[in-house]
């Protein structure tokens, strides 16, 4: 990656606001909703009351972004890949009026990728993202340890570092600077996050929507030393991580040996958009005769079969578009490092075609292997 690459995503114009990042974002979204500039906001928020959990919501009520509202736009947590959610929202056509979405870079990339696959529509979607310091694993969202962690998280963010407890996938993420966001909230390596905030207005739309915020407009190239440093650290960690997992057939058989076949990885994968996954379809429902035939060849065989076949097949289908968001690892009840393996394979594949998923909506996807599994008959 060339020098300064991480900052290439930023337009020269940016808005400096004398207010904490969290407040700024809340304020921005609240005013957008209040003024009716946006019809709704997709962001994280509390569910099930104070003791409850966290989920994405489509917020209509501005109060959600008030001081003690339910919304938690910048929470370092990812209960679902919002890219998939945006696709679901716009699957049947663009939204009539603007909708803002606060997403992480990998979620943004996923959405772009889905748009390329005509599974979503960018029109009228205001994309707000941030320089990402990673998110905590799902299970930390359950026992409340996430809450306790937050102060440390933001401290280290100010220092341009990642907390050791964020998901390995994030610590190994090279694409933590959003590309194609209308507004980017500068977080990683920014001093005084609780009193200061910098909004990069990357597009006209971004400028148009954030224009009313009080602050000073600054232009000109901006030093991104902290980002570069983080990038190097993450690259290092990534190599380590990849080295840790083998992707030879034998490794696969070993690693996926404890797969329980829930296909949760597929369900939460934003890129796996098929209405009915090939590996859940009739094509993979075997008659008893098949098992008996196999049995004749081997001494014994696993039932249900196709465990590794599923993983390899899914790789073949989506690795080229894998945005490395890590949802699959997070969701796996058998603690299999799915994401690491898929990113490793994906990265290789993407390198071959010099393709970065979700970087640019105009960029063609080199090879697509999905269509055959589409069930047009159940299409609506």
């Amino acid at each position: 990656m060339p020098e300064g690459a991480t900052s290439s995503a930023f337009a020269s114009e940016r808005l400096q606001i004398n207010q904490g990042a969290e407040e700024t974002v809340r304020e921005l979204l609240r005013s957008l909703l209040e003024s009716g500039k946006v019809n709704a906001v997709l962001a994280l928020g509390r569910t099930g009351g104070p003791s409850g959990g966290v989920a994405y919501s489509l917020f209509r009520d501005p109060e959600a972004f008030g001081a003690d509202g339910d919304a938690l736009p910048l929470l370092p947590f990812m209960p679902a890949n919002a890219g998939g959610l945006l696709s679901r929202l716009t699957l049947e056509g663009p939204v009539a009026e603007p909708v803002a979405a606060v997403v992480k870079p990998c979620e943004l990339r996923a959405f772009i990728e889905l748009v390329k696959l005509s599974q979503g529509n960018l029109d009228n979607i205001l994309l707000i993202s941030s320089t990402c310091g990673g998110v905590y694993p799902l299970d930390m969202g359950i026992d409340g340890s996430l809450e306790k962690k937050l102060p440390t998280y933001w401290e280290r963010m100010e220092q341009g570092e990642l907390d050791d407890d964020v998901r390995p996938t994030c610590r190994a993420c090279e694409s933590f600077v959003p590309e194609g966001a209308d507004i980017t909230v500068a977080l990683l390596g920014e001093a005084d996050l609780d009193t200061q905030c910098t909004l990069h207005l990357n597009t006209e739309r971004g400028a148009a929507f954030a224009g009313d915020m009080e602050g000073t407009t600054v232009s000109g190239k901006r030093d991104s030393e902290a980002l570069e440093r983080s990038l190097d650290e993450r690259k290092a960690f990534r190599e380590e991580l990849f080295a840790g997992v083998g992707v030879g057939l034998k490794d696969l058989i070993h690693t996926f040996g404890r797969c329980i076949g829930c296909h949760g990885c597929k369900t939460v994968c934003p890129i796996c958009y098929c209405r009915l996954c090939y590996f859940d379809s009739q094509n993979c429902e075997r008659p008893a005769g098949f098992y008996e035939g196999e049995l004749a060849r081997k001494g014994g065989l696993r039932v249900p079969s196709d465990t590794v076949y599923f993983q390899l097949g899914r790789m073949a289908h989506m690795a080229i578009s894998c945005v490395g968001c890590g949802m699959c690892t997070d969701v796996c009840p058998a603690d299999i490092p799915v994401s690491t393996m898929f990113s490793k394979v994906g990265a290789a594949a993407q390198a071959v075609f010099d393709y970065q998923p979700g970087r640019d909506v105009t960029e063609e996807i080199p090879l697509r292997t999905f269509e055959e599994e589409e069930f047009t008959e159940v299409a609506t």
């Binding site: 379809s281 008959e377 159940v378």
Partner: protein, 982 residues
């Protein structure tokens, strides 16, 4: 010159309706001569017979469709003037005056009522007769009408003409069907029961009528003073009335029992007594109904004579009656309900003058022997109550039997099926929804703000066009609407009009004329759901919008599909070569359809030993015509090996002594008969002097007789094991008793209930002949029955401690199904047996259901192309056996041999997403019509479109929406539902 194909139907009893239905469906024109002034003026007589407290028969009769296809010509206030010519070429002359309001043009806007200046009681001189059920019937009360014509002017569709000219019409018809309706006895006929003499005596038909209007609630029996009676008497009047005044059809005592149970349901505390002489429930399930009443705490009082003296002022009536034991008693009740029989038809004289038909000794229309409906005059048929006191099942069967019998006089079908509309596939076009809101010829304008509604509707997402239309229910407005749809260039349509229940046909016509499939359209009951039931403008607007929003969401996701078609094999398979089977075979063959007849024994004819000479001869005749017919292939010593397929497409294998034969057929008649039950106990088989009625008949033929003959009824009937009345025993026993009396024998009949029925009142004759009757309390099967003992040389019958000497003891044994055979066959055909072990009717778990469903459901839905006939279906007399067979044939003739038939009733049916279907078969289990089957190779469900009535049970049970209705897919339903709640 070929025979005429049109049929003249005189009168509108259930049989007439059934015949009209069948004729119309089969493709014959028919003229409905209605003496009354609206669609079914005799509805209440029907209700009196059908104590279901509701009747929707006219609603199920697709009058609008028949009218549209030109099959039906309906005439009101009609009178037959002259009949000339002969069978096949009758020339009839009749006069008619159309009713002031033409149902088919009337939009039921009620403006006529609003403008009518004449107040009559609570209503106006023009008023709705809500009793007329399926559609409101506007009737002018000419006594009070001032002929001011205000209503005529205001009528938007010109449906109303106060003065209709009386026209004389002449027509050529191939056959004449006399179906004049049930007539209730007059108040005077019922004077002994105090009718009209006080507030506390009422007809059952009146209770039925009130029930319909007050919805089965207590109001239906509330006394004029508003008090709720606590003691009731339900009286079966024919049992006590003067001879010749009224006649009883065998359903009557069930009607009484049913009423009593209903009363217990709504007034659990009330004291309900049913007064009758005998309980004569001889039909399917009737005995169970009787037991249910006893369980419900209904008191059943048997009386010899009975009269009612109501108090003129106080709401109370005294029932004076003498018990069977002869002691006279009196009971006072607050309300006495009279379950009345039927009077002899008033029109007989007129009819015989015009057509030459003859009346029998009781004044009913006489039929030729062994014919179900044909009178003495060729080509003139009579059905239902006109021919004698009849229960509903028989009346309804008559209808189809008539179709069967009249075929030979009728020419080719003369109603051409309408051409299929050419619809355009809108796939690929951007969705453009048009909302068309009916103003019902301007009269909704002042009810709510239609322009406002249109504005709001146009603003809905996906709606590209919205406007107000005048209407969509008259020729011109249908055309206009179609034009507007075309012009507006929409490809989805929401029609906010009124009841699709009645007018769907018209709306379909409009949208299809515009080239759109009804699948892309939704019809809202704007009038029924908003205009007529609400007043608050804001609320009405909100509700209308919700409904429209839902409809829009639905049609947005509608997809065009071309209607499915299926073929119907023109061959018939008849199992059983007895009377029923032979009749079915010959009749089907006579209509030119090939028949395969399978008989278990080595010769045809079935059980003839119970038949008299004439009957034997008749059966012989059938056999020879079977052998003579080239259309009938007959296999004796053969049985059904296996059966696959479904109505219209059966594939069967017949095991013959030589090689198995495989047969394709569209319909299957099950005519496997039943058996005489052999008595247990009563010294039967131990003492030669104890015999069954059949054996008695043999001995009498041999000239034997005895001095003292005792007969015991209900031997092996109405017991826990045989939970039904065998129907025939009583008539048979009484016939024998009378003969024995004539030879001077002393005859004593021990009985539970004498359930003789039909034209000849054997019961009365027997009593007159001096046969003595002794009732035993048989409801308690354990202890109630009499005991037969040896007494020296002779025998004695001991009942309730008393001994009655007898030389012969004759046991009236019942008829039992051939259990083993029936179960095997039922298994093979996948056709259910009822709890009595006979082959079930379409659906007959409730009394009279049989009648209604048979009438209202084309068989191909109800019974999957399988017809149980004769004794296989239920205990039946010789004539009734023929009747069941001919009824079944008539119903089969409606569809058999038709090709490329669209699914009945609906253009569109259930379908399956095969890539989602798991083949779990739950939908197969719940489908009432056998319209689905699992494809064993693909392990997915396949549809048999012909059998599907798109009820949607499969959709509800299918966990993942693999099953869906073409006209309401899963992805439509949720969106539509949400839209209602925005």
């Amino acid at each position: 010159m070929p025979n005429e194909s049109t049929v003249l139907i005189y009168g509108t009893n259930l049989g007439g309706y059934r015949a009209a239905y069948a004729l119309g469906k089969r493709g014959h024109k028919f003229i409905l001569l209605n003496r009354g002034s609206y669609v079914d003026e005799e509805k209440y007589q029907a209700l009196a017979q059908l104590p279901l407290d509701f009747c929707w028969i006219c609603g199920h009769m697709p009058q609008r469709a028949f009218k549209a296809s030109g099959a039906m010509q309906d005439c009101y206030n009609a009178q037959l003037l002259a009949v000339s010519g002969e069978a096949g070429h009758f020339h009839v002359k009749f006069k008619k005056r159309d009713k002031p309001v033409n149902n088919f043009a009337c939009t039921e806007c009620d403006q006529c009522i609003e403008v009518c200046p004449v107040e009559v009681g609570e209503g106006k001189a023009i008023r709705v007769v809500p009793e007329a059920g399926w559609e409101n019937c506007y009737v002018i009360d000419f006594e009070h009408c001032t002929r001011c014509g205000a209503c005529e002017e205001v009528c938007p569709t010109g449906a109303l003409k106060v003065e209709r000219p009386e026209e004389v019409v002449e027509a050529d018809v191939g056959a004449i069907l006399l179906a004049d309706a049930f007539e209730e006895p007059s108040d005077d006929d019922l004077r002994d029961f105090g009718l009209g003499q006080g507030p506390s005596v009422i007809r059952n038909s009146e209770v039925a009528r009130r029930s319909l209007l007050t919805n089965f609630v207590r109001d239906s029996v509330r006394l004029p003073s508003g008090r709720m009676p606590q003691t009731f008497a339900v009286i079966v009047t024919p049992h006590f009335n003067r001879p010749g005044v009224e006649y009883e059809n065998y359903n009557l005592s069930v009607s009484a029992i049913y009423r009593a149970i209903r009363l217990k349901e709504i007034l659990p505390e009330a004291e309900v007594t049913v007064f009758l002489h005998d309980y004569r429930g001889t039909g399917k399930g009737h005995h169970q109904w009787y037991m249910k009443a006893l369980d419900a705490g209904v008191r059943v009082e048997r009386a010899e004579t009975l009269s009612v003296v109501p108090d003129e002022t106080v709401e109370e009536a005294a029932i004076h009656y003498t018990s069977l034991e002869g002691e006279s008693r009196t009971q006072s009740v607050e309300l006495a309900i009279l379950v009345t029989g039927q009077s002899p038809p008033s029109q007989m004289e007129e009819l015989s003058r015009l057509t030459g038909v003859q009346a029998d000794e009781n004044g009913f229309c006489r039929l030729r022997p062994f014919s179900c409906c044909e009178t003495d005059v060729d080509g003139v048929f009579a059905v239902g109550e006109l021919t004698g006191p009849k229960g509903n099942p028989e009346t309804v069967w008559d209808g189809c039997a008539a179709l069967t019998e009249m075929q030979r006089y009728l020419g080719e079908k003369n109603v051409a099926p309408g051409a299929a509309p050419s619809l355009r596939d809108v796939a690929g076009e951007p969705t453009r929804v048009g909302v068309f809101i009916c103003s019902c010829f301007g009269q909704f304008d002042d009810r709510m703000d239609l322009p406002g509604l249109v504005e709001r509707a146009r603003a809905l997402p996906g709606v590209s066009h919205a406007e107000i239309i005048e209407g969509c229910c008259t020729g011109p407005t249908i055309q206009a609407t179609a034009e507007r749809i075309k012009e507006s260039g929409v490809n989805r349509v929401v029609l906010a009009t009124c009841t699709p229940l009645q007018k769907k046909g018209k709306y379909d016509k409009a949208v299809m004329t515009a080239g759109l499939s009804p699948l892309l359209c939704e019809y809202l009951r704007f009038r029924e759901d908003v205009i007529q039931v609400h007043t608050d403008p804001e609320g009405m607007l909100m509700k209308s919008l919700a409904l429209i929003r839902g409809a829009v969401e639905k049609v947005k996701r509608g997809r065009h599909v071309s209607p499915l078609v299926d073929t119907f094999d023109g061959r018939a398979l008849v199992v059983g070569g007895g009377l029923a089977g032979l009749t079915a075979a010959t009749e089907i063959a006579a209509n030119g359809f090939p028949v395969v007849l399978v008989e278990r024994e080595n010769e045809l004819g079935g059980q003839t030993k119970y038949l008299d000479e004439e009957q034997r001869e008749y059966v012989k005749g059938l056999i020879s015509s079977v052998n003579a017919s080239d259309n009938i292939a007959c296999y004796t010593q053969a049985k059904l090996g296996q059966v696959e397929g479904y109505a219209g497409n059966y594939h069967a294998v017949i095991e013959t002594p030589t090689t198995p034969v495989s047969v394709d057929a569209g319909v299957i008649f099950v005519a496997t008969g039943a058996q005489e039950s052999l008595p247990q106990g009563f010294l039967y088989g131990e003492d030669p002097a104890v015999m069954t009625q059949a054996e008695l008949a043999e001995r009498m033929k041999g000239g034997e007789t005895a001095d003292h003959v005792a007969m015991i009824q209900c031997v092996g009937s109405r017991t826990p094991e045989v939970p039904y009345c065998s129907r025939l025993c009583c008539n048979q026993a009484l016939e024998h008793a009378i003969l024995l009396r004539e030879q001077g024998a002393e005859v004593t009949v021990f009985y539970r209930d004498i359930a003789s029925y039909g034209k000849t009142n054997y019961y009365r004759l027997a009593k007159e002949a001096g046969v003595s009757f002794i009732r035993f309390p048989g409801d308690d099967v354990e202890t109630g029955y009499p005991e037969v003992r040896r007494n020296g040389a002779g025998l004695e019958v001991v009942s309730e401690g008393e001994s009655h000497p007898a030389d012969w003891v004759v046991l009236s044994t019942g008829i039992v199904p051939d259990a083993e055979n029936n179960e095997a066959l039922s298994e093979l055909l996948g056709y259910p047996l009822d709890y009595e072990g006979f082959f079930s009717s379409d659906i007959s778990n409730y009394p009279y259901e049989e009648a209604i469903k048979k009438l209202t459901k084309p068989f191909e839905l109800g019974s999957n192309g399988i017809f149980p006939v004769g004794l296989a279906h239920s205990p039946r007399s010789f004539e009734e056996t023929i009747l069941t067979a001919k009824d079944a044939v008539g119903r089969a003739l409606v569809v058999i041999g038709k090709n490329k038939m669209p699914p009945p009733n609906k253009m569109f049916v259930a379908a399956v997403h095969e890539s989602l279907c798991m083949g779990c078969g739950v939908c197969v289990d719940v489908c009432p019509y056998g319209a689905r089957v699992i494809d064993e190779i693909e392990r997915v469900v396949k549809i048999r479109p012909f059998l599907c009535d798109s009820c949607g049970s499969c959709v509800a049970i299918c966990p993942n929406n693999a099953s869906y209705l073409q006209d309401f897919k899963g992805e439509q339903s949720v969106a539509a539902l949400d839209a209602l709640l925005v």
